[in-house]
Every structure is written in structure tokens, then in C-alpha cells.
Point group: C2
Chain length 217, copies 2
DNA sequence: TAGATTGTTAATCGATTAACAATC
DNA sequence: TAGATTGTTAATCGATTAACAATC
């Protein structure tokens, strides 16, 4: 049974990875998998996998393991991939363009309903198969498509203003590529930050650390 | 004093954020900050900040707090931003282009020494201020610039092969935008993964969760 | 039935928070 | 000196791992 206990972020962040590995197993034609097999495949412990899955229900069979197809579908449901939520991308610079072309949104629980920018050079341009609209059209478009998610690819300085505009149209969920701290400044928002700078600096730290460690050996 | 105890990933991943907030404080002309002020600014506890910083040394003054400038410099040193490491970007599609133009590499501890792709349409193109080279030139270029970091923006299928090529030239550190699990397949590598898909699915989960929660109230 | 593997409780480990003596 | 705030030890909290009874 799914428990009342609030599911921790650590568990949630592992779900997409399970989903990915199960997809691969499906592709390979595997029909069943045990927690210990999956564990060694993913570099986790079998215990952790069973604990994680049992946050959401009892998907396995004792003595047998898990059905790959069924588990895949369950996680797909849990992640909400079946009924994708409408989203807009704001800021169609390099990052906005890359995101709109590169991401497989529909298989990630999101449908892009519009691209927006405030630069005259970009407005009207076709990216993927969508025309970039002006910021003046944002509110109308958000209402029309009942947009729920804002994807922020604008420069850091534009973060606060664009966030305000989106919140005015009822958007409460953000995929945020800027440094602007949306969750801190706006109550009742759901924010997933992509801090590429932070990730790169972490890498730099780890590389330098390993260099230093080698010197001292 | 800096301790012998291995520093945990949780701490390391907070460093870039400290760095960012200290940069802002500098910009605002602030000269000193206490752990409790910084804590409320960042939405952390003062305890955690003091614990984190004390992994690396004693940077504060009792009864006074921390010097903004000094602390900023210390963290900069810790992150290895002062002596940037040479890197190459492989795969100059949408994401590769966005990364090369958008990121402020030099201020993140990295210098880009070359862009590489295997598509004739992209080779020779100028991105930012660099010409895209062919994969044949990779090995020579890596040796020439003593490249330490590989940035992988290639399609998932190309992950294993490109990784192999880079490792052959001595690259052991990766900023990885593919789904290929480098660390799992190659020993002694340092890998920082950017899993945009995972981040987006986590967002989808959280949004759907909040919708369900609202229905049940 | 016997063997395998789950679901779940208990034990361990690590990270965060609280408390306080040291000291500027 | 008195007040403030650090550095650091101790207490708490949460997440991971181990163990095992339930059961397919």
C-alpha cells in the first residue's frame, strides 16, 4: 500500500533514473527483473530499490521479482508522464533554442505550447516548428492554453520580472535556468533549478582536489 | 584548521551557491557578514554555514563574522577557479552551441581549448570565436593543450565511443550531458552529470503530486 | 514442497541542527 | 569589559543498509 508518509526528495530524484533503466530493459526484451539484479545494474543496493518502490505501492511478487513492463508503466504514472502539462519557454537565446529542439518534452510529462522572447530579432523566428512570440502575447497565450509550467531561459537580470508576469497568469511551476531564486521570493511555487554554473564549479572543485591528492602521495 | 576527514558531496555542492551569494554581497559593497545573516539570506541555518566553511579552514573572526572579500577569495581558491583547467567540447549541436556561447567558463574554473564534431556540416563552422574541428584532430589537440576535461554534448548513442577516445588521450574528468554512465564504465574518472531529462521529470512528478493533493482537500 | 525474492521492521550510518565554551 | 559571533562538540533527525518473516 502507498503510505501516508511524505516521500522524500532523495527518493523522488531517483525515480527518473529507475525509469530510464527500465526503459532500456524493455528495449532489450527483458520481462522480469529482481531488485538485486537491478541494483547491480544501477550501482545501488537491492534494499534501497525495494524501499524506494514501496513508497508508492507493492509492485513486485515475492519469490519472482518485478515485471519490467508493469513497473515501467507504474513509474510513468507516478511521474505524471501520461497526462503532460502545458508549458511555455521564455527566452529563446542559445539555451532556450537548445532546450526547445533538444528535449523530448512529450515523453517527460510536458507539452510546449509557446516560445516567447522580448528581442525583435528573435520574435517571429521559427524554432523547431513553432514561431517565437512577443512578451505582449504571453498572458493571452497562457490563458488560452491553461499553461501550468514556465521554463525560464532568460538572462539572470530578467528573472524577477518574467517570474512576476508568469505568476500573474497563474503559472506556479517553474523549470528555472536562471540564478533568480523563485521559490525563495514567491510562496506556493514548485521550482526545479538547473544550475549549470554550479555543476561546472563542482566539477572544477573535484578535479583540483584530485590533483592535490595526487601531489601528496 | 582544515580537517583530514573527507568532505561530503552535500557540502561540496553547496559551495558554488555560497560563492554566488558572496559575489552578490561584494557587488552590493558589503564588507562583512555573519553566519546568521547569510543563513537567512540563503534560506539555510547559521549552524550549517559554519559547519560547511569549517571543513576548509577558519575563515571567520569570533564576535565579528566573516570578511566578504576574503571569504569569496577563499571559496574561489577551494573551487579551483584561479587556475582554470583546459577542456574540449564534443558535439556542437544545439546543446553544444548553447553551452559554448552561454557559459562563463573562465569564471568557473575551465578554459575551452577546442570544439569538436563529426558532422561535415558543422566542422569548420565558427561558434563563439572558435572553429569547430573534426574528430580526427581530437587526439592531437588534446595533447597540444594538455586537455583535462571533456564536455560531452553528443547524442546518447555516441557516449561510449567518444568517452573511449577522450580517455585514450588522458582525459579523466567529464561534464556529461548524455545518459551514458561514464563513471560506472570507467574507473578513476571524475564525472559530473547534467541530466536535464531527470530534472524535468522530477518537476512533472512534483506538479502532478500537488494537483492530486489539492483534489484530496 | 523448497528456493527465491519481496515487503517491512530494525540497525546503522551520515548529515543537519542545537548548544556552548572560546575569543575577538 | 560586555556583547557578539565564531569554531566545535553533542544531540537530533533522516536516509541508507541489513535482516528476516511473509509468501509466491
Amino acid at each position: 500500500m502507498s503510505k501516508d508518509r511524505e516521500i522524500s526528495m532523495s527518493v523522488i530524484r531517483r525515480l527518473p533514473r529507475y525509469y530510464r533503466f527500465l526503459y532500456n530493459l524493455k528495449q532489450e526484451g527483458k520481462t522480469r527483473i529482481s531488485s538485486s539484479k537491478l541494483a547491480s545494474l544501477m550501482g545501488l543496493t537491492a534494499s534501497q530499490i525495494r524501499q524506494d518502490l514501496n513508497c508508492f505501492g507493492e509492485f513486485g511478487q515475492q519469490g519472482y521479482g518485478y515485471m519490467v513492463d508493469q513497473l515501467y508503466d507504474e513509474i510513468s504514472k507516478i511521474l505524471g508522464i501520461e497526462n503532460p502539462s502545458p508549458a511555455v519557454i521564455i527566452g529563446i537565446g542559445n539555451m532556450g533554442k537548445a532546450i526547445s529542439k533538444y528535449m523530448d518534452f512529450e515523453n517527460r510529462g510536458i507539452v510546449i505550447t509557446g516560445l516567447f522572447d522580448d528581442s525583435p530579432e528573435v520574435i517571429g523566428e521559427t524554432v523547431g516548428n513553432m514561431k517565437v512570440k512577443s512578451m505582449e502575447e504571453l498572458e493571452h497565450s497562457c490563458n488560452q492554453y491553461q499553461v501550468e509550467v514556465g521554463i525560464l531561459c532568460v538572462p539572470n537580470e530578467a528573472g524577477p520580472e518574467v517570474t512576476k508576469q508568469l505568476i500573474k497568469t497563474g503559472v506556479k511551476t517553474f523549470w528555472n535556468f536562471t540564478h533568480y531564486d523563485i521559490a525563495y521570493n514567491h510562496e506556493d511555487t514548485i521550482v526545479e533549478n538547473v544550475h549549470l554554473d554550479d555543476s561546472l564549479m563542482t566539477l572544477s572543485y573535484r578535479l583540483n582536489k584530485s590533483k592535490k591528492d595526487k601531489q601528496n602521495t
